[in-house]
């Protein structure tokens, strides 16, 4: 295949995947609301477009199959037959076959076998039972988005040179925390700097107006920001027609990226992140030189460089942000199929689909979420009979929601099923020797639930084919922790279970506290540092032969020497040497004090992963390159706290 052709093929592959996803979503929407004609259009046009694209690529099987799918959907569209469960099933299976056909044909490994499914599609299209009753459907709910409507009036400093750029950055920042509805003047005019010093943005957000104000005022060269609520516009005929218009619907189907977005290969983005990382390193190297040489003029220029590179870094990191909807949208189909297999009736509700997360983080959390959803459907939600007997509705609900929490994202998977049995989990933990029976009082319910994440732990007597083999939750926990996140479980018997994953938004660049031990430098993520104290501010004591720190407020924290943790020194008698500093770090709820010989200061560092040769190493989470080119290891508070104090 020529290079040209392979470039077309890549475009075809990514576009066809989007069409198939839109069709799957359309079919699921249709199943929930069989009289809604809008999803019918989506599916019909999706099949039609795919047919054309496949013809252009000379993918015969894909072309024929999508043609038959289009014909079948046409009968639904003309209301010759109803979109019942069997039809939805058939179409979903056809979509799976299209995927296989595309895989086979694009790889050039021969022809896909589509005869079976084509025959079924044709048979169903021919069957055309008596015209299905299609009452005039109700209009789909207007897409109002979430939160209240606000208006922000943003004024730039008079000296601002790049007005268009600053305005763009302000709007961009706003778009991270809200849905921008309109701008005055138009986005185009703002871009061309056709405005005086101020412009207005109307947006919808569930964030507090103060938070929006603070985010906007933080943009460089923004002088003033006024945020005020705006009245909701009355629904006008132009935004939502009362009656469905089956054939003339002008809505583009499926929703694809518009001209303001471009497709960029992930390789380019990764390269950009690496280069920006290098830039940050070089900048700090220059700062050192400026400091050592005492050149004020260079210092000023460096300040400017720092501002620009910080913004560049933020923008580049932003390009890697992807809405969680990109992976969440795979799940409704999976939950539906799984529930049907298990004879259960389950709806998946999703929320926060537009919350954005770094691509690397997002790639890693797909599998853990699949596992959690499976657990919900398989173990959490009861059978319809059990639910009715328990006085609940027949249909269970599983919820998958994402929300921003400052610099973290929280993903919650919850169900309204039978809940976890604390007693059984405790007994199982005791039986497996994970805890002493007598220690029951020192464990909170929350701690006990976390035992389900222990390797090989399962209270389900008979493993089902879906889940319950006790592999999984430990893998989920491991993956989340690897990403620097935490997991927590809450549950109420009879009412359901909720599992929350807290994850960092990005991985690559963090603020860190640099420490030195001998001539070796270590970095601790600043987010894990609670306090830095002098030796005279704490009391050191031994409890049962172990050193602890007693803080002024009376709290007692285990203490470790950094030089011992880092293998620079052997454990000795003293918990600290004269002149040492005490750095209090935490991971989750746990705290630990470290005695540190030298503090270097706070610095932004680029995290470089450690080779797989160091896999399983406790206490060290990665490495970074310092301004002088030396490597500093990054302490990992999570695994560090697991080490003996």
């Amino acid at each position: 295949m020529s290079d040209d052709m392979s470039a077309y093929r890549d475009v075809f592959l990514s576009e066809s995947a989007e069409y198939l996803q839109a069709m799957t979503e359309g079919l699921l929407a249709l199943e929930a609301e069989p009289n809604d004609l809008e999803p019918v259009e989506t599916v019909f046009r999706g099949a039609h477009s795919l047919k054309g694209m496949a013809a252009a690529m000379a993918y015969g099987s894909t072309q024929e199959l999508t043609h038959k799918m289009e014909s079948l959907m046409d009968t639904v569209r003309r209301r010759v037959q109803a979109a019942d469960h069997e039809l939805i099933d058939l179409m979903l299976r056809a979509i799976d076959v299209v995927r296989e056909a595309i895989a086979v044909e694009s790889a050039g490994t021969g022809e896909a076998s589509i005869e079976g499914i084509v025959a079924e599609l044709v048979a169903r299209a021919m069957a055309a039972p008596a015209a299905a009753e299609v009452p005039s459907g109700k209009a789909p709910a207007a897409d109002t988005g979430e939160g209240a409507l606000f208006q922000a009036r943003i004024t730039l400093e008079e000296a601002c040179v790049l007005k268009g750029v600053r305005a763009y950055m302000a709007i961009k920042r706003l778009s991270h925390m809200s849905t921008v509805v309109e701008t005055r003047p138009s986005a185009r005019e703002i871009e061309d700097e056709r405005f005086d010093r101020s412009f207005e943005v109307v947006f919808r957000t569930s964030a507090a107006p103060e938070a929006v104000h603070n985010a906007l005022i933080a943009v460089t060269e923004v002088e003033n920001v006024v945020v005020e609520p705006v009245a909701e516009p009355a629904p006008s005929a132009s935004t939502q027609d009362a009656s469905p218009r089956p054939t003339s619907s002008a809505r583009p189907v499926p929703k694809l990226s518009e001209t303001q977005t471009v497709r960029i290969s992930i390789g380019h983005l990764d390269a950009m992140v690496n280069l920006v990382g290098e830039l940050v390193i070089i900048r700090s190297r220059l700062e050192r030189i400026a400091r050592d040489a005492d050149l004020p003029e260079l210092g000023d220029t460096l300040d400017a460089l720092e501002r620009v590179s910080a913004e560049l870094q933020q923008e580049v990191m932003q390009t890697r942000m992807v809405p969680v909807g990109n992976i969440f949208n795979r799940f409704p189909r999976m939950v539906r199929d799984l529930a049907r297999d298990l004879g259960k009736d389950v709806t998946l509700e999703t929320d926060g689909l537009d919350i954005e997360l770094d691509r690397t983080v997002l790639d890693e959390i797909g599998d853990p979420i699949v596992h959690l959803l499976r657990n919900c459907v398989d173990h959490g939600v009861e059978t319809p009979e059990e639910r009715v007997a328990a006085g609940k509705s027949e249909r269970g609900t599983v919820r998958l929601a994402a929300e921003r929490e400052r610099e973290q994202i929280r993903i919650t998977v919850s169900d309204d099923g039978r809940g976890l049995d604390v007693g059984r989990i405790w007994s199982a933990a005791v039986a497996r020797g994970l805890v002493e029976e007598s220690a029951r009082d020192s464990y909170s319910e929350h701690d006990i639930f976390l035992f389900v994440c222990a390797p090989g732990f399962s209270t389900v007597e008979q493993a089902t084919k879906v889940s319950g083999r006790g592999v999984g939750m430990d893998v989920v926990k491991g993956k989340i922790e690897y990403l620097g996140g935490t997991i927590s479980i809450t549950s109420t018997p009879g009412e359901g279970t909720s599992i929350s994953l807290r994850l960092p938004l990005t991985l690559a660049i963090i603020q860190a506290l640099l420490l030195a031990c001998g001539d070796q430098v270590f970095a601790v993520p600043l987010s894990a540092v609670d306090e830095v104290l002098g030796l005279d501010e704490v009391t050191l004591e031994t409890v049962e032969g172990r050193w602890v720190t007693v803080l002024r407020d009376g709290s007692v924290i285990p203490i470790q020497r950094l030089d011992v943790v880092c293998g620079v020194a052997e454990p000795g008698e003293a918990a600290a040497d004269p002149g040492d500093h005490i750095v209090i770090i935490h991971s989750g709820e746990e705290m630990r004090a470290l005695t540190v010989p030298h503090l270097i200061g706070r610095q932004e560092i680029v995290i470089k992963p450690l080779s797989a040769l160091f896999r399983g190493l406790h206490g060290i989470g990665g490495a970074t390159v310092l301004g002088d080119g030396h490597v500093a290891l990054i302490l990992d508070p999570r695994t560090l706290l697991k080490m003996e104090g």
Binding site: Q520, S611, L613, A623, V625, M643
Partner: protein, 163 residues
């Protein structure tokens, strides 16, 4: 063996550790740089000195002397780090001296005499070959690397079996 295969020439980077001579297939070698001391990594697998900064990338440095001969490298002006692409990503291998890139005919390579070399390390050897008046041991880069430390349940495994 196939006639063509026997005649096929492959290129190897030849280097020395103490008095032994070794070769690494050149297609696995990314670069050869001057020796620099590594930043030590606590509790690293035996034979791994630590990490070095290779143009912004942080890679492990393996002391091949410790792994193959049980004796740590004594750095000199001639010491080099051979950066190889391995199954665990780029890895630096510290050696005493790199002296040539040689073409070796596949047919000339003989199996490594396991008995003479010891069972522990012999699996790291692809074979031996006579090159001029010297005997060169050809290494399999992946198998010559120390095994990662897998730690589970908070237990530290610090084995120093081959030191």
């Amino acid at each position: 063996m196939d006639e063509l295969l026997i005649a096929e020439q492959r290129q190897y980077v030849l280097f020395r550790l103490r008095s032994e001579e070794y070769g690494l297939a050149i297609k696995r070698v990314q670069s050869i740089i001057r020796y620099e001391a590594a930043t030590p990594v606590p509790r690293a697998p035996a034979g791994v000195d630590g990490v070095i900064n290779l143009r912004g990338q942080v890679i492990p440095l393996v002391d091949l002397g410790r792994v193959l001969l049980g004796e740590p490298l004594v750095p000199t002006q001639a010491s080099r780090i051979i950066v190889v692409e391995s199954s665990v990503g780029s890895v630096g291998l510290a050696v005493d001296v790199v002296y040539e890139v040689a073409s070796i005919a596949v047919g000339d390579v003989k199996p490594a005499p396991a008995a003479a070399l010891g069972a522990e390390t012999s699996e790291a050897f692809e074979g031996v070959v006579s090159h001029g008046d010297r005997l060169v041991i050809l290494l399999d880069a992946d198998k010559a690397l120390p095994k990662p430390v897998f730690m589970s349940g908070g237990q530290l495994q610090e084995d120093g079996a081959d030191v």
